[in-house]
Structures are given as C-alpha cells and as structure tokens.
Symmetry: C2
C-alpha cells in the first residue's frame, strides 16, 4: 500500500491516480484499434509529445503536437497492431509527481505488438487527466526471443556436469576463438558502450565479438590521469544485468571502474579480443556483410565477415591535436591529456594546460597538487557547475527511490523540447546554488557561459561532447590564483622557453598538456571505412534534425553500420534497443535499411 | 497490496494476519519489560522453540519449551534491554503459510537492544495465534557500526580525485601489503567461507587479511574434477552484497564459480594473499593475540600478530587416505579425488573408484564417459537423492519468491528438533519421488539408507559432511551395469594387477581413485595449532550437544580462534554473525571468552 498516503482509494480498490491512467489507456486502445485519427488526437494536449523507441516506428522517433502524433500513430498502428494496454504489473504504480513545473499523473504501462512486448510512460496533467501531455512507447522484447535471465536462466545442461564432454570453460575458450565461425556482430571498443551492447546481444543469442585495442579490458579507464573518478554518482551508472556492489563509493575511481569492466566481460560471458585493433572494413552489399580487418596482439591480421559492425569506440578515439603557432619551437614536453597520467614527475616545474573542459581542469589540479606551477589556458567560453550540489540536480529522477528500470524508462520519455526545458529549469537552480563560484570566476577573467539556450553542461554534452567543467575544486584554485589563467587570444606564439604573449612578455613552461579533446566518431569512420561511408552517414553524436542524438542507437544510412556511445546510463538504456534492432533484422522481422 | 488476496482487511487498514503478529509482539515486549517469567511463558506453546543469534545470548543458542524459553529470556533481558518490537518495515509482511505441516502466521519483526538492532521471526499457530510456536531473534547490526552500504556507501573522498595524493589503486596496493601494520583478523582460506567473512568484516572496518594457499583465488574450485558443477541451484548460493548475475545458469560450473570468487575478492576490496599458506600459530593469552606464521608464494615467511584467527579452510582440507590392505603392491596409479581432474586420459583402461559420496559418483561418471571401464567400490551405506526433483525440496523456502534476506532469516529460525522434522517430511516425499531409482539401486546390491532418523542427506551433511550422493545420472549407470559396483567387504586385498576379492577372483585395474573425503577441521587444528588447542576446542562441525553445529560461527573454547565453514548459503548467512562478534569484541562490547 505504498500509494496509501498520496492516493484516495475508491470503492473498487483502485486509487484515483491509477484509475485515471487506466481510463486513458482504455480510450487510447479503442481509438488506436479503430485507427480513428481524431479520437486519438483528442487524447493528447495540443502541445504534447510522443517518443517512440522501436515499438511503432522501428527507430528512435519523436513527435510533437496532437495532430502529428495522431497521424503517426494511426499510420504505424496498421503494422504494429498494438494492444493490451494496461498499467504495468510489478512496476512503479501510477503516482502524482511534478515534472517540469507541472503537476502530473505519471503511469508506467505495458502493451504488446504483432512482434513483441512493450512498456511505456504516460503523463496526464493532474488538472486535465483525460489528455496526455507526454507519451513514451518502448519495445522491450521480441516474442520468442526473450532474454534468458532469472526464471529463464539457462539450466547449464550444455556444460554443467557434462561428463566426458566440454565443460563451461572449454566451451568459453572455443566460443572466444572464432576458429570455425564468423561473428554476426563485430563491436569495436570494449568500453561501456561495447560491453553493454555485447551483453544485450548475448541475451538474444546473437553471436558477438568485441575487439579492444588495449591490452586489458578497462585500460581505457586505467590509463587515464591518476586522479580521475566518475563525475556523477554510482547509482546512475550501473551496467545492464550486473549492478555495482552496494559497498562501492559514490564516485567510482578509474581503476575500480576499469577492473569492473574486466569482471563484467567475463561474468557476462562476452567474447572479447584484447590487444586487437579494428584496422578497417568495407561493406559487401550483395552479401550483406562486412569485410573487417582486425590486427591481433601478436601482429597477425584476421579478416572477419560480420553482418553488423558497431562503432563503440567513442571514448578511446583519436586525440585532437590543434595546430598552435610556434609549437615546433617549444623546447618543453607536449603531451595530450589522453596520455597524461600524473603531475608528480613535474614537481617544481612549470606547466601549461590548454583547454578548460573536465580534463583540462582535472589535469591542472593534478599538476598543481604536487607543486607544479600551473597555468590553464582558456580557448572557448566554458560552463562550470559544482559537482555537488549542482551537477546532481540533473539526476534528481534517480533519487526518487524507484527501481532503476522504472527511472530509466521515465528518463527516456523526454523528447528534445522537454529535455531542453528540463535542463533550463535545472540550470536556473544551479546558477543560484553556484552564484558565488560563477561571479568569482568571471571576476578572475574566466569566460563563462550556460550554452546557447541556457541549458548548461548537459546540452553541451549532447551537442558537442564537451565545453564544460564539473567543478571538484579546480575553480577555487583558479579564483585564488593558485592556478594561473591565461586566455588563448592573449597568446602570440609558442617559443622555446614557453609561450609569448601579445604584450611581448613570456610565460615560461616545461610542459604543455593539450586537453583539447578527441576527434569525433565521424573522423574514425572516415579513417576506417572511407570517405564515402562517412559522407553517407553524416554527423554522429550531436543533435540531429529531429532533436534526437544523430545516428545513435538506430539504423544509419549505411546498411550494417551502427553507433553506440554515451554515458554509462545511456549505454545501459539504449544498448537494449540497438540489440533488439539487430536481432529483429537477423530474424527477418525488420529490413536492414 | 500484496496481501490483499490472502488477508482480510480490518477497518484500521491492518490485515488480521499482521494484527495477530502485532498483538503478540506488544504482549511480548510488555512481558519482557517486566521480566515477568510467567507472562513470557504464557506467550509460548508448551512445546515451542526459540533460537537466538547473538541478540540476547551473544552466541548461537537454541531453547525448547515455554518454561526454559521464559527463564532464558527473563535472565538475558536484564543486559539486553530489548525493546521496540514491531513488524519489520520494508520486509515481507506477516502471512499465513504452512510450516512442517502446521498452518501458521509467520511474521518478520524488528527490535533494538542496548547495543544494536535486531530482526526476528515469530510463528503463531493459525489456530492459536496468541502463543508462539517458533521464535527467532537475530542481531543484525551494532549501533554506531552499521555497514557502509547503499545510502551509507563511502563518498570515496579519501581516494576519488585525490589530486596529487594516493588514488584508489595506490591505497588498495598499500592496504594489501601490510608493510607497516598487523591485520586484526587473519582468515585461513579464500573459499566461500573466508571471502564472505572478509567482506562482512570489511563493512565493519575490521582490518582483515585472508591467506589462500592456491595461486589464484577460486583455484580450490577450478582445480577440482572437470565435470563439477554445484549441486544446488544458483538462487540459494549468492555471496553477501554481490549476487550472481541473472544471466548465469541454474547449476554453476566450477570454473565459473572460481572466477566469481576472484572477482568478488577484488570488487569487495578484500585483502588476500594468494600462494600463501598458514603454517602454524600459537596464542599469546597475555597479549591477546596470535603469533601466526604465513609462508608466502616466494618461499619467505611472514610472522603476523592478529587478534583473531579464523579457520575457513574446510573445503581445501587435507585429503583422507585410508589404509588399504595390499595397496603398496598395486602397480596402477593411485590418486585422491582431490587431485583427479578428468577421465579422458584413461580411455580404454580400467579404473576403480573407492567411495560412493558425491565425489565418488561424479568421478566414476567422468571416467565412464570417455570409455574407461569403471567400477565403484562402496564402503558404507549411502543416501541417494535425485538432484532434480528431490534434492530441490529442501530449498522450497527459497522458491517462495521472497527477498533473499527474508528467506535467510526464516531459514535460520529452525532449531535442531525443527530441522530434523523438516528433513523427515522432505525425505518422505523424496523417497516417493525416487522410489524406482532407490528400488533399482537396492536390487543391484547398492547399500542404501536414509540416515539414522530418516532425515536423508541434509542431516548427513550436518552430522558428518558426507555419506550421500545427489544423483545426476551415475545411479542409472550403476543400475544398468555400465559402471560396476563392488562392495568393500568383498575385497580381500589389493594386488599388483588390481584388487583380489574374497572369492579369489581378481578385478584388474590401472587406476584407483580414492574418493574418501578429507580430514576434519579438527585435524587441521591439531596439525597447525597443536594438540592442546585441538583438545580444548573439541569437535568442529557436526551436531553439538545443544543441537547446533559444533564450534561454528561462534566463540570457541580457544580465545581468538573461530571456525567458518559450510555451504555457500550458510557462509552468506552466518558470516554476518561471526563478523558482528569479532567487531563487538574489538569495540569492548563483548568479552572474547
């Protein structure tokens, strides 16, 4: 009776909140069944939002406005045959909550389609619960291809007590070797994106190989700078199927996360080749498969023929080295933040850090701590947010105490206009909480901004993957002058002993760390798959024309090519949808383009 | 409203089942407060049972009968100051269930004591809910020393983003080295017992080192025979804090479990020295600490001075090699099942397996599969139970769909008379389910029994740790004659070519596998700590005079010496209680003897 305090019980035992959701679902199902566009439109507010994850559209598809929503639903329902809409059992019951400043009834529901089972979220304004403001529909599983977890877990009869035959370990070793078969899916990169997707595909019995250029799984984290820890809290960051232990710290340090990735691959029985680099590929349209070259740890090359190629190598991409005037003359050491590990070796020396994103600030703080005379160089204007309390505001949903699956579902209900509005509201509170920090930074000459539409760091992450700093102490060091601040446009050129400013003075330096980010995945595509494929696919990451992340987690213009990237939470959530699409193609339920 | 279907709601919103439990708890608290022995006795059936886990008695203490229970409660309450008895929040609500053939109301409750917080279980006969039939009281945590999990998880501020200082990895490496400090607790053995206890102690900030003689954690499983898998289902076998993934098979294969143990130690941040053997120790009563010698992987010796020494080395004990007439004459190979890995190398040869426990049967089946001519030799009468469905009956409680913590609590409520009765009832059904198997085995000349009181394999496990086989197919091979069966008392002596029977015939053999079990922990104590300590402590494992497991999970007659053993489930459950006792001693809340 969790709802007892917030809901009024009716005689039938169903509370008023649930009753409103149930009524809406019944009306919705009836209108859908009749393909009655005007009846459907009547169930939505004029300015309403529907996001579909595969269930109706086999893609990640946002819609806005009752008219557009009704037309799209009626059109897609013919093939979808969605039915059986009901409040979801064993999930959070409908409840009254405040979303984007509006009092709503929010309900999680379930339904089925011709090919699968779905879940969704509907938000009804409390003041007008007969019409939906927000609707999410999400395909959760394909009928006949359910995940083999919990009650459906394998008996293990193929290898447990297989007297005289292969045991589990024998079978795992053979599965990983790919001596006599081809993987259906080749994933490039064993970071959170690659591992989460491989785990999901494994549950769908899709034969998947992950190649990782580092020697050990997790090295993409281990090899980063000494003081690195995740910038958001642990409960947002779980991978699918295997949550982090409850004993772990709030902010996971890099080595701990790296080790977990390694456990995870083994515990989820993923096939991963470490020390193995994807060297390039071409797609054979007639055969419907790739010719993919993988360079193994021993220097040998193996040509594979997967039907699907997934780029999950965003994090371990190619460092971007900007062209800097006079840099060749600089006598000190130049290192990209990618390769920077610790400031301890530079004690007593002078360092410059170019870049004011997270890496730039963390590297500067890491250098400053053991006594390196450090100056940070700012190129573009930067959003700065305190990691606690401000940056936590964007994860407020994850603090409501709901099961993770339910929060993930609610979080995915937002389309672009709702996301923008949500971040704007959060930013309003952040700038209030951080007002002294911000004022002091500006007073110090730090160029500060909140993004083009005051959405702060989260939209910068979505739009360009950078341009912000989640402050864990470096801003105060800059404010206090303990770490120097130099604007890039004050620089004339680099010289042997350091950097010469436009006023003629010279700032001496022994080290320059380039915290200048990475090439985008598009550049990786260009280098590894060629210009034609890169042009065909277009932008990767960033906001696409429909407001969704461009080319993420859905079919692209290049048959058999997929992109998987994002935060741990995004990888946890959308790995399911990407895996379902590949499975549906393999089972003939979906065209590959 | 989970209880809606089984309970009648009263006007106050509390169902009748919960109301009965609440009334009993109120009466119980009042009687306890007044130390009113006769009022307490009036709250128990004449033949009732109370098991206390530390909360009142600081030991594992069973009681039987209203009179004895009332006296013990009144006597211990003076120091315990138990109060605040109430139906436990966030746990399974009181419900009607059938236990040992009796319809009862079973409720989980919480309470506090002078030093800690407890939980318990009360069973009220449905026909007479004012009096308890079964009561469990269990100390769950010490005030001020709560486990640092979930909402209390560490912030990680000591190492996350510790700019210029030690990061998490640096700190872990230093913690494991013990260069400048002594562990408070030394655990011998990194199997389920040692790992579960170390994890619990870690949560209580008790500095703990585990020494494991194998090269890798988990090798105690990996190095066993090729076809080994756990004989009970995965959902019974979780370790504390970190459940097995939902993707894993029902019966976990040995290598998968071994790898998990290795992950577990790392993920739970346990300090483990592998390749390190505890070589012996002496207790310094005056100093209140051990002098413990550990032989490291590099051959060096390290002398440690822990205050507590825990033997958690049951599983990896010393193989028992029986004296067999003429064995020295046998020209074939003799190997203990401990060192047996696979039958494949013996294809086309003849093998004898001495022993009809689980290992004997599994080894025989492993030999038979690749075509080894195999005969199993039976010494004592053996209980045989089909692993599915019969052996699962003892875990029926774990199939009721309750949260694991709640099942564990309910399972621990049973004292010896209840356990015996429970197993007898289960065995009645098992022999019915397995009746053909049993009849065929007996017809084949297999000596079969159900234990001295028809409690089957589970009480054999508790009493002597063996004497049974959970059948996964070998019994049918014996029945069919595919695997030979020889009674030990038919043997005259071993000879060069095999074994000579009393009838003068010779059964030739190339291999003899001794599936003859292991020395008890008492023998390990004798060898490693000396005769005096072994005599002082007495029996280890088996049923003690009070019906509880002898010397398990509680203080022993040797100050600072503890024993931790048992199944994965027992280790999960009782590791908490053992850890709480050590913590209480370290904090001065409990005398060490």
């Amino acid at each position: 009776m969790n709802q007892a305090e917030t809901s009024v019980m009716t005689r039938s035992g169903v509370d008023a909140t649930s009753a409103a959701v149930q009524r809406w679902l019944e009306s919705f199902e009836a209108a859908l069944r009749d393909a009655d566009t005007s009846a459907i439109a009547g169930l939505f507010l004029p300015d309403s939002h529907w996001r579909d994850l595969l269930a109706f559209t086999w893609s990640v598809t946002p819609h806005r406005g009752a008219g557009q929503i009704a037309q799209a639903l009626a059109r897609t329902q013919a093939a979808t045959l969605a039915r059986g809409f009901a409040i979801a059992k064993n999930r959070t019951a409908p409840r009254r909550v405040r979303r984007l400043g509006t009092e709503v009834i929010e309900g999680i529901f379930e339904f089925e389609t011709a090919v699968g089972r779905g879940v969704g979220v509907v938000r009804l304004p409390a003041s007008e619960p007969a019409r939906a403001w927000v609707l999410l529909t999400s395909l959760e599983e394909l009928k006949g291809f359910e995940e083999k977890i919990d009650a459906r877990r394998p008996t293990g009869s193929a290898y447990s007590r297989n007297f005289g035959g292969d045991n589990w370990l024998d079978q795992r070793i053979k599965a990983q070797a790919y001596l006599d078969r081809e993987p259906t899916v080749l994933i490039v990169g064993a970071g959170q994106a690659g591992l989460a997707l491989a785990a999901r595909l494994g549950q769908l019995d899709v034969d998947t190989l992950v190649v990782e250029k580092h020697e050990r799984i997790g090295d993409n984290w281990r090899k980063r700078y000494h003081s690195l820890a995740l910038h958001n809290q642990i409960h947002v960051n779980h991978l699918p199927y295997m949550p982090f232990p409850p004993t772990w710290p709030k902010y996971i340090p890099k080595d701990m996360l790296g080790d977990w990735f390694e456990f995870y691959a083994s515990a989820l029985e993923l096939n991963v080749w470490t020390g193995s680099e994807f060297a390039g590929g071409t797609y054979d349209t007639a055969a419907g498969q790739w010719r993919a070259v993988v360079r193994r740890a021993d220097g040998s090359e193996r040509v594979l023929h997967p039907r699907h190629l997934v780029f999950a190598n965003g994090v371990s991409g190619i460092p971007r080295i900007p062209s800097l005037p006079g840099l060749d003359d600089f006598a000190g050491e130049v290192v990209h933040s990618h390769s920077f590990t610790s400031g301890a070796a530079w004690r007593g020396k002078k360092a410059l850090v170019l870049g004011t994103g997270n890496s730039g600030h963390d590297v500067a703080q890491d250098l400053h701590s053991p006594g390196v005379d450090t100056t940070i160089i700012q190129r573009g204007s930067t959003t700065v947010v305190s990691v606690d309390p401000s940056a936590k505001l964007n994860y407020a949903l994850y603090d409501e105490g709901l099961p993770l699956d339910d929060v993930d579902l609610i979080a995915t209900a937002a389309t672009y206009p709702l996301i923008v509005r949500g971040y704007q509201l959060a930013v309003e509170r952040m700038v209030e909480l951080d007002k002294d920090l911000i004022a002091n930074l500006i007073a110090r000459g730090f160029k500060y901004d909140l993004g083009e539409d005051k959405t702060g760091h989260q939209m910068k992450y979505r739009r360009r993957g950078g341009g912000y700093y989640l402050d864990v102490g470096c801003s105060q060091l800059i404010i206090d002058g303990a770490i120097g601040l130099l604007q890039f446009d004050q620089i004339d050129r680099f010289v042997a002993e350091g950097v010469r400013l436009k006023d003629g003075s010279i700032l001496p330096a022994d080290l320059l760390v380039l915290a200048t980010g990475y090439y985008t995945q598009r550049e990786l595509v260009r280098r590894l798959l060629g210009d034609a494929v890169a042009e065909r696919v277009g932008e990767i990451w960033g906001i696409g024309p429909d407001g969704e992340m461009a080319n993420m987690w859905k079919r692209t213009a290049q048959e058999g090519l997929w992109f998987m990237a994002g935060s741990l939470a995004q990888c946890r959530i959308y790995s399911k949808h990407l895996a379902l699409q590949i499975k549906a193609i393999e089972e003939g339920l979906l065209q590959s383009r």
